[in-house]
C-alpha cells in the first residue's frame, strides 16, 4: 500500500512540474481503475474454474449463477481422480517437457556455437536452411512425421514426442547464435592459449556465459512442451501414455455434463503452471519476451 501511495505521490510531483494541479491524481486513479477492472475481468474465468470445481453438481444450474460455492465439496476432484489417472498424466507431461528442454538446450547451444564461431564448409548455406525452416508450419510435416514414426515403431510411444523437438530447434539455434556472437572472442582465445580444446572452451567458457538466453529459451521450451496438445494428440493413443492436456481432453469427452468434475480436471491441468508463474513471474515474462523478440 505504501508502494502505491509512493507511486502516486511521485507521479503527482512529476505531473505538477509539467502540468496544472488537480488533474494528475485523477488521471492516476482513472488509470488504476481501468487496469484493475480489466485485470479482474482477465482473472475471472480462472476464478470460475476454481470455485466451480468445489461446487456440488446441483449448484451448477442455479439461476442466477454464483461465483462461490454455497456447499463446498471435493466430489468433483473425487470423480476426476477416479475417472482418469491424473498423477500419471502429470508425471508424463513433466518428464517429457524436462527431457525435451534439457536435450534441446544442449544441442541448440552446440549448433549455435558452431555457427557463430567455427568457419566451416557450408556454414552460411546451412544457417539459411535452419532459418527458412522456421517458416514451415507444423501441420505440413505432421503427416510425413506420422508415417516416419510408423517406420521407426514410435507411434504411441513418448519417443515420438520427445526426440523430434529435442534434436531439432531452429529457433533455439538462431537465438543462441546471436548471443554467442556477442561474447568477446578474447575470452576464448585466452582459453585456447591455456591449451583448452573446442569442447573445453564450449563447456567452461561459452555455456556459462549463455546462462541468460539459456534460461529464457528453457522457460519458453518447457512451457511450449508442457502445454503442447497437437503433437501428443496425433502420436499417442493409449491413455496411460497421455500427457495432462490429452488426459483432460479425453476426460471432457467422458464427463461432458459433470461440470464440477470437468472443472476439477481443468484446475489440475492449469494450476501447476499458474503456481509456478505466480512464484517466478518476472523470469517467465522476461523469458517469453526475450525469446519472442529475437525471432
Amino acid at each position: 500500500m505504501s508502494a502505491y501511495s509512493n507511486t502516486i505521490s511521485r507521479a503527482v510531483t512529476t505531473y505538477k512540474r509539467t502540468s496544472g494541479s488537480g488533474r494528475p491524481t485523477l488521471h492516476k486513479l482513472l488509470l488504476h481503475a481501468v487496469l484493475l477492472v480489466f485485470a479482474v475481468a482477465m482473472a475471472l474465468p480462472f476464478a470460475w474454474m476454481l470455485f466451480s470445481s468445489f461446487k456440488p453438481l446441483g449448484e451448477i444450474f442455479m439461476q442466477p449463477p454464483k461465483l462461490l460455492p454455497q456447499d463446498w465439496n471435493v466430489e468433483g476432484y473425487r470423480t476426476a481422480f477416479s475417472g482418469a489417472d491424473f498423477v500419471r498424466g502429470f508425471w508424463n507431461s513433466t518428464y517429457i517437457a524436462v527431457t525435451v528442454t534439457a536435450v534441446s538446450l544442449l544441442t541448440s547451444a552446440m549448433a549455435a556455437y558452431a555457427f557463430a564461431r567455427i568457419d566451416f564448409w557450408g556454414s552460411r548455406g546451412l544457417f539459411v536452411v535452419f532459418l527458412a525452416t522456421m517458416m514451415v508450419p507444423g501441420q505440413l510435416t505432421i503427416i510425413p512425421m506420422y508415417i516416419i514414426m510408423g517406420w521407426l515403431g514410435w507411434v504411441d510411444t513418448h519417443a515420438a514426442i520427445i526426440v523430434p523437438p529435442a534434436l531439432f530447434n531452429a529457433f533455439g539455434v538462431f537465438l543462441l547464435r546471436q548471443y554467442v556472437k556477442g561474447i568477446p572472442l578474447e575470452l576464448e582465445e585466452a582459453a585456447r592459449l591455456d591449451g583448452a580444446g573446442r569442447i573445453r572452451t564450449f563447456v567452461s567458457i561459452i555455456l556459462p556465459l549463455l546462462r541468460t538466453p539459456l534460461t529464457a529459451l528453457g522457460i519458453f521450451t518447457f512451457l511450449g512442451q508442457w502445454n503442447n496438445f497437437f503433437y501428443p494428440l496425433i502420436f499417442l493413443n493409449s491413455s496411460d501414455k497421455f500427457t495432462l492436456p490429452l488426459l483432460v481432453n479425453q476426460f471432457k469427452g467422458m464427463y461432458a455434463s459433470d461440470w464440477p468434475a470437468l472443472m476439477a480436471a481443468t484446475t489440475l491441468l492449469a494450476a501447476p503452471m499458474l503456481i509456478v508463474f505466480a512464484i517466478a513471474q518476472r523470469q517467465i515474462v522476461e523469458g517469453v519476451a526475450l525469446s519472442g523478440s529475437k525471432s
Binding site: 488509470l31 485485470a39 444450474f61 503427416i143 510425413p144 516416419i148 503452471m273
Partner: protein, 317 residues
C-alpha cells in the same frame, strides 16, 4: 524487462564485424570442418530426419493418393483440385480468414492499449501483469475447457449477465454466426498478455529523450503517441502482426476441444480440415495438398507484409 534491453544491447553488430575481421586474417586451422560438424551433429540429424525429410515427403504426398498402408498411386493435381473445389474446405478457409480478421486487430489493439496504460502503472505493474499474462502460460486445453463452460447458454455467467441487462444471449458455439467471433474472444483472452509484454518491451526501449524533446516542443500526449511512439514501435508492430497472423491461420486446439471430431461446418478451420482429412479419413494425399496450400498462403501473406514494411516501418538504427 531490464534483461530484455540489456539483451538487445549485447546483440552487438560491432562484435560480429570484429569477428569477421578475425576470421579473414587467421588461417583456418585444419580439422575445423570436423569440429563444426561434430557440434552440429545432433541438430543436423534432427534437421534431416524431422524437417527436410518430412517436408520433401509432404511435397511428394500432395501429388499421390495414399492412405498410409495400401498402394500409392500418382494423383497429378487432383488432390489440389479436390481441395479447391470442396465447398466444406472453402467454408473452412473463409472461417479461418474471418477468425484472423477478428483476432489479429483485437490482439494488437488491446495489447497496445494496455501496454501504454501499464507503462504508467508504476509499482503495481507486476500485479496487473500477473492477471493479463496468466492465460498465456495456461494450456489451450484448459483455456478451451473453461470457455466451454462460459459459452454454455444454460449455465454461463456471461449469458446470464447479458440477459440480466436485457440483451439477448446467443448460443455462442452452436450459432453459426457467433462461433467464429467466440473463438476470437478466447484467442484474444489467451494471447493478449503476450502482446502486452512485447509492446511493453518495445515501449521501454524507446529513448526517453526523444519523448522529452517532443514534450518541450509542446506536443500533446496524443501527438507524442501518434508521431513518436508508434513510428518508433513499428518494428515491434510488424513482428507481432506477422507472428499473430501466422498463429491465427493455424488455430486448431480450441475447436478440437470444443467439438472433438465432429465440429460443425461453421466452426471448422483449415488446420482442423488437415487433421480430419489425414487422421480420420486417412487421405494423406489430400491433407498434404491442403497443408501445402496453407504453407503457401502463409508465405504469401508474410511476403506481402515484408514488402509493405518499407512504407511504414521505421528502424532507428
Amino acid at each position: 524487462m531490464a534483461l530484455l534491453t540489456a539483451g538487445s544491447g549485447t546483440r552487438a553488430q560491432p562484435g560480429s564485424r570484429n569477428h569477421e575481421v578475425h576470421r579473414s586474417r587467421r588461417r583456418r586451422p585444419r580439422g575445423d570442418n570436423v569440429a563444426a560438424y561434430l557440434f552440429l551433429a545432433p541438430q543436423l540429424l534432427g534437421l534431416v530426419v524431422f524437417m527436410i525429410g518430412p517436408l520433401l515427403f509432404a511435397l511428394v504426398l500432395a501429388f499421390y493418393h495414399w492412405d498410409g498402408f495400401g498402394t500409392r498411386s500418382f494423383a497429378g493435381l487432383s488432390n489440389f483440385a479436390d481441395v479447391l473445389s470442396s465447398p466444406r474446405i472453402r467454408r473452412s478457409a473463409v472461417n479461418t480468414l474471418w477468425f484472423t480478421l477478428l483476432q489479429v486487430p483485437g490482439l494488437m489493439l488491446t495489447g497496445f492499449f494496455f501496454a501504454v496504460l501499464m507503462q504508467r502503472a508504476g509499482k503495481l505493474t507486476p500485479v496487473y501483469r500477473l492477471a493479463f499474462f496468466a492465460p498465456v502460460i495456461t494450456s489451450s486445453v484448459a483455456v478451451a475447457a473453461i470457455w466451454l463452460w462460459l459459452f454454455n447458454p444454460d449455465i454461463s455467467p456471461v449469458s446470464n449477465a447479458l440477459r440480466a441487462i436485457g440483451l439477448p444471449a446467443p448460443n455462442w458455439l452452436q450459432d453459426a454466426r457467433f462461433v467464429i467471433p467466440s473463438l476470437a474472444v478466447v484467442g484474444i483472452w489467451q494471447g493478449l498478455g503476450y502482446m502486452l509484454v512485447m509492446f511493453m518491451a518495445g515501449l521501454q526501449s524507446i529513448n526517453r529523450t526523444v519523448l522529452e524533446a517532443a514534450e518541450l516542443d509542446g506536443c500533446s500526449e496524443w501527438q507524442k503517441l501518434r508521431h513518436v511512439t508508434i513510428p518508433l514501435l513499428s518494428p515491434t508492430i510488424l513482428f507481432l502482426s506477422i507472428t499473430s497472423i501466422i498463429g491465427s491461420f493455424q488455430v486448431f486446439d480450441y475447436i478440437y476441444v470444443f467439438f472433438g471430431g465432429t465440429a460443425p461446418d461453421s466452426s471448422r478451420t483449415i488446420v482442423y480440415e488437415v487433421v480430419q482429412t489425414a487422421f480420420s479419413e486417412f487421405n494423406f494425399g489430400e491433407a498434404s495438398a491442403l497443408a501445402l496450400l496453407l504453407f503457401l498462403a502463409l508465405l504469401g501473406v508474410t511476403g506481402l507484409q515484408l514488402a509493405a514494411q518499407k512504407r511504414w516501418v521505421f528502424y532507428s538504427e
